[in-house]
């Protein structure tokens, strides 16, 4: 990837947020008028336990440069265990994508509680910076191949 394209590269990041903690935390960031980069687009699910790790793959294929999954801190899951399942599934998927040559900076996970509006901002900044550093997703992104 040429340096020029990296310069000014604004990554597109798809985030899956659980309704009870992280989505509420992101709402709090809003209510508190905390400013953060606009690169992250949120899909709300009830629990991170709903997020199939293949969603990550799918997002990277469909054009996302990075994916974030964010849920309640361990022990705080509204459904008690969902984030624990998610943690296992994501650890494996993230390791695997890294093994295929997808930079782990593209596949992120965080625990953000309903009271952590400022942590949400920090998470976004770190994720966006990380993806910016590795550039556009160029491995198995769905391109119009031989069309």
């Amino acid at each position: 990837m040429a340096e020029e394209t990296r310069e000014g590269f604004e990554p597109n990041i798809v985030a899956f947020l659980c309704n009870w903690c992280s989505y509420a935390g992101a709402d709090l960031a809003g209510t508190s008028r905390i400013q953060y980069p606009s690169n992250v687009r949120v899909i709300r699910v009830m629990c991170t336990g709903r997020v199939n790790p293949l969603f990550v793959m799918n997002a990277l294929q469909q054009g996302a440069d990075g994916v974030l999954v964010s849920g309640c801190h361990p022990g705080d899951c509204h459904y008690m265990q969902g984030n624990y399942y998610a943690r296992r599934r994501f650890t494996l998927m993230r390791n695997f994508l890294e093994y295929l040559g997808v930079d782990p900076a593209r596949v992120r996970m965080s625990w953000v509680s309903a009271s952590e509006g400022s942590k949400w901002k920090e998470v976004i900044e770190e994720v966006v910076e990380g993806v910016k550093a590795v550039g556009p997703m160029d491995q198995f992104k769905r391109r119009q191949l031989n069309w």
């Binding site: 606009s38 687009r41 709903r50």
Partner: protein
């Protein structure tokens, strides 16, 4: 359903909250180009009455069947707009919100970027709403009765409260009598009222209450169903005594050939009983029970010429043919109050419990100081099990009264080496109480208490601790490392950590203030009710702060020490809380269930049970169906239990179980529009 989707998109300015960084006109223009969007409008305040009226009007005039509202967080106004849809006669689940305020206009100052993001979020909502399906909010009836498992003080209190409110209660107790651990106690801290005196009236009440069906010496075998409709199966173990005939006279126990040979559980093995017995004089019901393992007739088929008890019973109540009985009934709600076990001090071999007779645990000591106990309330050094073995020529030694008694706190609590990190919450106080009782009975006794910290947090506790200390009881801060015998004396080796001095303390008797542990048979209930455990292995509440008596499963509540160590007032308080939570269901007679539940495609489900395993609510079970003549297992969701978390959907490899409103077919298009720039 309603044929082709006809979508209305409503973009809110929220005064200037949204409009100042999002170009609302541009978003409206963009939205109106999206597939199946019939109308896109903006309004100053969508949530206002006129704003909502706008939506209702469009639904009525334009035949909209899907609505997207782009405004604030759905956590704020989703219920509002769902109601709007209902007003217009549309299913409330045909709504999707795009959060362009909290997660867009309020956090991005750049108008271009903010507008661009708002467009994406609106498009994401549009592609999702196209694929939404109508959902039904269901209600189920609640059977007006409750099951309470465990008849200690917590179970008893909960039973009485619910029964007093007019609902039927089934109170199931594993042992022959109600009462639990509280019945074993002598006096209670900090008020020193006699435990039996305050407990036994309640015990009698549960036996006599017209709304309570007491099932003692019984065990829950199986529970199926869900909130409002549990089917319960209880095994009433055979007592071999016809309880209708037994008068509780005790003639049988006197003549039993095993009398005085079997350690009595109630006295923690310090006293003896026969094979036919009543655990303690005030037992409820006051009916005798034959312990079939120890009954000569039942275990060996022969008891002398004939069983003496049978001869002695004038009522003819003893019947060796009696079998276990299975009782089945339905309840609407369940309270688990199964209590605790005490820590087995043998797991701390350095304290030599089980090695020396004069090392006892606190519950044994409780029986020793109790007037109803094996020594009639005299504090003596117990001689367990040895009495009968004495050689003929040996002189019968009189009871030895200890003059120096040492208590050690935190045995099996706050101790990672035995796997119990938690504080048992009662030991500091019961130790102080026991020290006080000794002082009462042996005024010249020297009493020492080794402690780590003294936690006297309850009402009147600190005052009581202060009073005990002033009675001349010595508190040494330090955890003893070893107990050994030197001559007649026990030596407690420790370090006084306040002065950093190692010390060897000689004493006549050591009382180990053992902690409270989850019951060793805790898995029985876990398996039947699919309860979860917290890391300390006590049963897990639904939320540590806001739902402390609820479990993850609707309609099942926790009371007493099965959820964690508690003193009596806390156990009673929680029992009343659990009873009240149960009564909310019982009184309303109906319970609403989640609409965004999971659903199984039985044609493709392979019955692997992954979803069954992950479901925190035990809402999914495998059932056999007939698939074109073949019996196959598939998952089935009990919608009354499903809470709509969707963990099952992510666990399913074949995509056969899907969460309504969060299906793969609904989420993947969102990913697509958010991904493709």
């Amino acid at each position: 359903m309603n044929g082709r989707p006809k979508i209305g998109v409503y973009i809110c300015h929220c005064g200037i909250n949204i409009a100042h960084t999002v170009d609302v006109d541009e978003v409206v223009k963009f939205a109106s180009t999206l597939p199946d969007v019939i109308v896109a409008r903006d309004y100053r305040y969508m949530c206002s009455d006129p704003g909502q009226a706008l939506i209702v009007e469009d639904i009525n005039n334009m035949g909209l069947n899907r609505v997207v509202v782009a405004s604030c967080s759905p956590r704020m106004h989703e219920p509002t707009f769902r109601k709007t849809l209902i007003t217009a006669g549309l299913n409330p689940y045909f709504l999707e919100m795009a959060n362009i305020r909290e997660q867009c206009s309020w956090v991005h100052e750049d108008k271009i970027a903010g507008t661009e993001k708002a467009k994406r979020l609106v498009e994401s909502a549009v592609v999702k709403v196209r694929r939404l399906e109508p959902l039904e909010v269901k209600e189920v009836d609640v059977e007006p009765s409750a099951l309470i498992i465990g008849a200690g003080i917590a179970g008893i209190q909960a039973a009485l409260d619910i029964a007093d409110a007019g609902f039927k209660v089934y109170l199931v107790e594993k042992t022959p009598s109600v009462g639990g651990h509280m019945a074993q106690l002598d006096k209670t801290f900090p008020t020193l009222d006699c435990s039996a005196c305050i407990l036994t009236p309640k015990m009698v009440d549960v036996a006599n209450h017209p709304n309570i069906e007491l099932l003692t010496y019984s065990q829950v075998e199986d529970i199926s169903g869900y909130v409002g409709n549990f089917e319960v199966k209880v095994r009433k173990k055979s007592r071999f005594v016809d309880v209708d005939k037994c008068t509780g006279c005790g003639a049988c126990a006197e003549v039993c050939r095993q009398a005085g040979r079997i350690p009595n559980e109630f006295d923690e093995g310090l006293g003896m009983r026969g094979a036919i017995y009543i655990p303690f004089p005030q037992a409820v019901p006051a009916k005798y029970t034959i312990d079939k393992e120890n009954c000569l007739f039942l275990s060996r088929g022969k008891c002398g010429e004939s069983p003496k008890c049978q001869e002695a019973c004038e009522a003819g109540a003893i019947n060796f043919e009696l079998q276990d009985e299975i009782v089945e009934f339905k309840v609407g709600t369940i309270i688990v109050a199964t209590g605790f076990d005490i820590f087995d001090a043998r797991k701390k071999p350095e304290y030599a419990y089980g090695v020396y007779d004069n090392v006892v645990n606190a519950l044994e000591f409780e029986r020793l100081v109790s007037a109803s106990g094996p020594t009639g309330g005299n504090v003596v050094i117990p001689q367990r099990g040895k009495k009968k073995k004495k050689k003929e020529d040996e002189e019968e030694l009189g009871p030895v009264i200890p003059k120096n008694i040492t208590f050690i706190q935190c045995v099996g609590s706050r101790d990672k080496s035995v796997g119990n990190e938690y504080c048992s919450r009662v030991c500091c106080m019961y130790t102080a109480k026991q020290a006080h009782l000794v002082k009462d009975k042996i005024p010249d006794a020297e009493i020492t208490i080794f402690y780590m910290d003294v936690r006297a947090f309850g009402k009147g506790y600190e005052e009581f601790y202060d009073r005990v200390r002033r009675e001349g009881i010595r508190y040494i801060r330090g955890n003893p490392s070893e107990i050994f015998k030197r001559g007649d004396k026990l030596v407690v080796k420790a370090e006084d950590t306040l002065t950093a001095t190692p010390l060897e303390h000689e004493t006549d008797m050591v009382v180990l203030s053992v902690g409270l542990e989850p019951r060793s048979d805790r898995r029985e209930i876990i398996d039947i009710l699919k309860l979860s455990s917290s890391p300390d292995l006590f049963y897990l509440e639904a939320h540590p702060k806001l739902r402390p008596v609820d479990t993850a499963t609707d309609g099942i509540f926790l009371a007493g020490c099965c959820q964690g160590p508690k003193d009596i007032p806390d156990a009673v308080g929680q029992a009343k809380g659990a009873a009240s939570a149960a009564m909310i269901l019982l009184a309303s007679g109906k319970v609403k269930v989640e609409a965004q539940t999971s659903v199984v495609d039985e044609a493709t489900c392979r019955g692997c049970g992954f979803c069954v395993e992950v479901c925190p609510y035990s809402a999914i079970e495998l059932v056999e169906i007939n698939r074109a003549g073949w019996p196959v297992m598939v998952a089935r969701v009990n919608e009354a239990l499903c809470k709509g978390c969707g963990a099952c959907s992510a666990a399913c490899l074949s995509g056969s179980i899907q969460q309504r409103s969060f299906r793969d077919t609904q989420i993947l298009p969102q990913i697509e529009v958010l991904g493709v720039k």
